[in-house]
């Protein structure tokens, strides 16, 4: 099952995939572009991984001052920073390097504390596509990656669907790619994650209790390039979804 949350006709609805687009819980069938897409679940804690694909580590190696990794590099986002499918992301006029990151998002389905690797996948409710933008101009070396880089309004896109874990037999063998204005800009495979999903759940739950609705963004492969106002960015993961986002400028936000 693929589930979504959308706004339509004056209310927020749960919806499921339908050959014509999507079907609201009340029976209305609508085209994909007829609704406003929200992140597909009520978000709890949002955890993101940095440098979790070996090729991306190599890509960024010039700016890394820490190279040895003895634990996953995890950081947090606030739910308010997230937007849904077909949304608009603001690119401030003063920046020179703002890039997308296509990521597999893992949604936790039940409370998890001190979960061992062997039991970890049973805690997963499902998966989404994420596009986790970064603006490198704002990078500072305190509590990296600082929130001004990684927790900006509109800069984390999640959706379109929450795909049930039962429908994704092998989440560690999914091709993922990013297209900018239809051109292939980034590609990789979830099989190249350094810390895989059970490792991440085991690690995180070793010091904090994960709860239903928590989300883990599992990192991105190499191939990140700058995007500009007007660009249409699609992050796509086979079997999970195709997430569309448009870059807009300051004027859209009255800045």
């Amino acid at each position: 099952m693929k589930r979504a949350r959308v706004a339509y006709g004056g209310a927020i609805h749960d919806a499921t995939e339908h050959p014509a687009g999507l079907r609201l819980a009340d029976g209305r069938v609508l085209a994909e572009d007829a609704v406003v897409w929200l992140p597909p679940l009520e978000l709890g804690t949002v955890i993101a991984l940095g440098l979790n694909y070996a090729d991306h580590v190599k890509e960024l190696s010039k700016e890394l001052t820490v190279t040895s990794k003895d634990e996953p590099l995890a950081f947090l986002k606030s739910p308010g920073a997230l937007i849904g499918h077909r949304g608009q992301t603001r690119r401030p006029a003063d920046v020179t390097f703002m890039h997308y990151e296509c990521e597999l998002a893992v949604v936790i389905g039940r409370s998890a504390k001190n979960v061992r690797r062997e039991e970890a996948m049973a805690c997963v409710a499902g998966y989404c596509v994420a596009n986790d933008y970064a603006i490198r101009d704002y990078l500072e070396n305190y509590y990296r990656p600082n929130l001004r880089v990684k927790n900006r309004d509109t800069c984390t896109v999640l959706g379109p669907w929450l795909v049930d874990a039962a429908d994704v037999p092998d989440p560690h063998h999914l091709a993922l790619r990013t297209l900018v204005n239809g051109e292939l800009a980034q590609q990789g495979n979830t099989s190249d994650m350094i810390a895989d999903i059970p490792a991440l759940i085991e690690y995180l739950s070793s010091f904090m209790t994960l709860a239903a609705g928590d989300v883990i963004l599992t990192g991105t492969p190499d191939g990140v390039v700058n995007v500009n106002v007007g660009d249409e960015v699609i992050t796509e993961i086979d079997g999970i979804g195709r997430l569309l986002n448009t870059i807009v400028g300051d004027a859209t936000f009255g800045r």
Binding site: T45, S78, N151, D153, F207
Partner: protein, 256 residues
Amino acid sequence: MLYMLEQSLARPQGEAMATEAPVAHWQALASSVGRRQAFLPPTRGTVYGTLLNHRDALAALGDQVNAAPYKAPPKAPILYIKPRNTVVGHRVPVVVPADAPELEMGATLGVVIGWTASHVSQAQALDFVAGYTVVNDISVPHASVYRPSMRFKCRDGFCPIGPAIVARALVPEPDALDISVGIDNETVQRSSTAGLVRPIAQLIADVTEFMTLFPGDVLTVGVAANGPRARAGQTVTITIHGVGQLENTLVSGDST
């Protein structure tokens, strides 16, 4: 009475949370429910910590700010998130992890947002504040603030908040509040919100330039240098004059 207290302290996000009752009212309520009775946290919004916003905390880094790995003094507010598993209320015991016998207490003022604040000016910033509360931003002690592990700040129970939210109107000078930390009734640290690099209105303006704050969110103003350390068995009391007194006892992991 306890039921009423829980109802009034734990309001859902989106509702006005400040009470017009004076601090003495909350203290009377708190004492009336028994010494060991734990409270719910007074808000369920997102909790943001601010780093190096006390002048002495920044000064403690000294010339290190110009050396690797920092390479330059901080420019924008340096923030982090205390996730929901960390947030507990007044008098809730905090479990000390087996691998970190001594924890650092981060006494700070929590600014509770009352109305959605996006790109607000410094002049208007305080209009978006519902009230103030006391926060203990607990950490596993760690020297580097370059890329600290989540293990240091995100353990369950590492962010006691409360006892209550005191309405903004009852705290006329939030940038001049004395903060003291007591461990087992001995005062071990004194600081003040008068020592902030970014006073509250400027902090809200600079943060909401890139990130919306929502009703119920808590923005802490930052901790002073040299946070006192505490161990299992000790009781930590943070007092902010006019805002409240937050008390939590540390317990060993074995007792849960």
